[in-house]
């Protein structure tokens, strides 16, 4: 075994050559592939994180939109409720108005009915009173009363005649209907007829009829004018006068 400088040198050269070749065909590609994979993994992780972040952002955004939608919904609900309340109040107001109208109408009807009933009651009462008065007078009247009334009537003939003379008629004859409760003495009739004829300056024709319903007194009708001095007539006049008063 001896030292051989050539072997030493060759081995060093061999090493350098091998280093150079392996650098090209082994280390460089291996390193590249490893770093490429690491880069890829890093990028993948980064991408995944980015995607995750994006997903989170999207989620947040969705949540926000959902909240907005909820808010909108509640707003709409509120609005709807307010409108419904308004409508309800309006409807209630109308209904109250209608009810008031109906009540008024009913009231008016009731008032009318009341009035009708009142007036009916009054009429009935008046009728009753007049009947009662008539019956009473019938009971207490006799020919004497009749004659007294007649005398009073004859005294007032002037007033009657002046009333008739106001009616200007061209006819020559005046037809007078004389209704009496008791038969009149012919003298009295004749006297009355003549008095009238002289006052009116016309011929007077008398139609004398007896009617017991007059109770006492007489009633005279000339043209369409009636002069009533009988008790029944007085009662009727009173009744109609009462009817007009409230």
């Amino acid at each position: 075994m001896k030292f051989n400088i050539w072997t030493l040198l060759f081995q060093i050269i061999n090493f350098v050559i091998l280093l150079y070749i392996l650098r090209r065909i082994l280390y460089k590609p291996i390193r590249e592939i490893i770093e490429k994979r690491r880069g890829l993994i890093a990028k993948t992780v980064e991408d995944a994180e980015k995607t995750k972040k994006e997903a989170l952002e999207l989620k947040e955004k969705n949540q926000e939109e959902l909240n907005k939608a909820k808010e909108l919904q509640s707003q709409m609900l509120e609005q709807t409720r307010e409108e419904a309340l308004k409508d309800r109040n309006k409807l209630l107001g109308e209904a109250e108005k209608d009810a008031a109208k109906i009540i008024e109408k009913e009231k008016a009807l009731i008032d009318a009915e009341k009035m009708r009933i009142e007036s009916e009651l009054k009429n009935k009462t008046l009728e009753m009173v007049s009947v009662f008065a008539s019956n009473l007078l019938k009971d207490i009247s006799d020919e004497e009363l009749h004659n007294a009334i007649l005398r009073k009537f004859l005294k007032e003939t002037g007033k009657f005649v002046s009333d008739i003379s106001k009616i200007k008629e061209k006819e020559e004859t005046v037809n007078i209907d004389l209704v009496t409760a008791y038969p009149l003495p012919m003298v009295d009739v004749k006297t009355f007829q003549e008095t009238l004829a002289s006052h009116l300056a016309k011929k007077v024709k008398m139609n004398t009829t007896i009617d017991k319903t007059l109770i006492a007194g007489v009633r005279i009708k000339a043209y369409d004018m009636i002069y009533d001095s009988s008790l029944a007539g007085q009662v009727n006049a009173l009744a109609s006068q009462l009817k007009e008063t409230k």
């Binding site: 072997t7 081995q11 090493f15 280093l19 650098r23 280390y27 291996i30 490893i34």
Partner: protein, 221 residues
């Protein structure tokens, strides 16, 4: 007994240049390494095949080992150290092939590798911290130790060379002696042992180189 000579012989000479069988075997080993590496790295892809995964696992283990010892970018020393490991490892195992001599059983070869390791230590040390910064570590902890530092530079390099050479030569010699004495099958267990020793010695060579490099750098920090 010329066939079983474990010592290197000059096969041919070109003028003053003597080419020994060690060098020729080394060429053969180099061709084998280059062929294997070429085939291995031909179809690399991001999605690794089974073979590529093994390759990458080896490199990642290498990276991790370097990272544990050296406070530098692992890829700064991976090519040099990797080449040392591969070349020494394959050379150590070349002797198992009948008719070939182990190149690392030649002191000239191991000395060449040791010199490469020696120069690597200094080159990387100076490259990473400058000449001045690198030289400072020789006076650590005191100037008194400078001679010992210098002696250590020589002795550890020599030790590297001799350690590898001794281990390999002994393995070869044992195999040949046993073969001469007891016949064909008995040396087989020793050959298996020789495989293990070859791999371990390659590993030790690389790791020691790494430690020396780190020793030249760590003083700064």
């Amino acid at each position: 007994m010329k066939i079983f000579n474990v010592f290197p012989e000059t096969i041919f000479s070109i003028g003053p240049v003597h080419i020994t069988d060690t060098v020729i075997t080394t060429w053969f080993v180099m061709v084998a390494i280059i062929t294997i590496c070429y085939l291995a790295t031909r179809k690399l892809s991001v999605k690794p095949s089974f073979f590529q995964e093994i390759l990458e696992a080896i490199f990642e283990a290498m990276e991790k080992t370097i990272k544990d010892i050296l406070p530098l970018d692992p890829w700064l020393v991976v090519p040099m150290l990797g080449t040392l490991w591969i070349l020494i490892g394959f050379s150590n195992l070349a002797g198992l092939i009948p008719g070939l001599k182990t190149p690392t059983a030649d002191l000239n070869t191991t000395l060449a590798f040791a010199l490469i390791s020696f120069s690597m230590t200094h080159v990387i040390g100076i490259a990473t911290q400058g000449l001045k910064g690198y030289l400072v570590h020789y006076k650590e902890p005191t100037w008194l130790l400078l001679p010992f530092h210098l002696i250590a530079e020589v002795t550890r390099t020599a030790a590297l060379a001799v350690r590898l050479f001794g281990n390999m030569l002994s393995g070869d010699m044992i195999a040949i002696i046993l073969l001469g004495i007891v016949g064909l099958l008995v040396p087989i267990p020793f050959s298996l042992l020789h495989i293990i020793i070859g791999i371990i010695q390659a590993y030790i060579f690389g790791i020691l180189t790494l430690v020396f490099i780190a020793g030249g750098i760590k003083t700064k920090s």
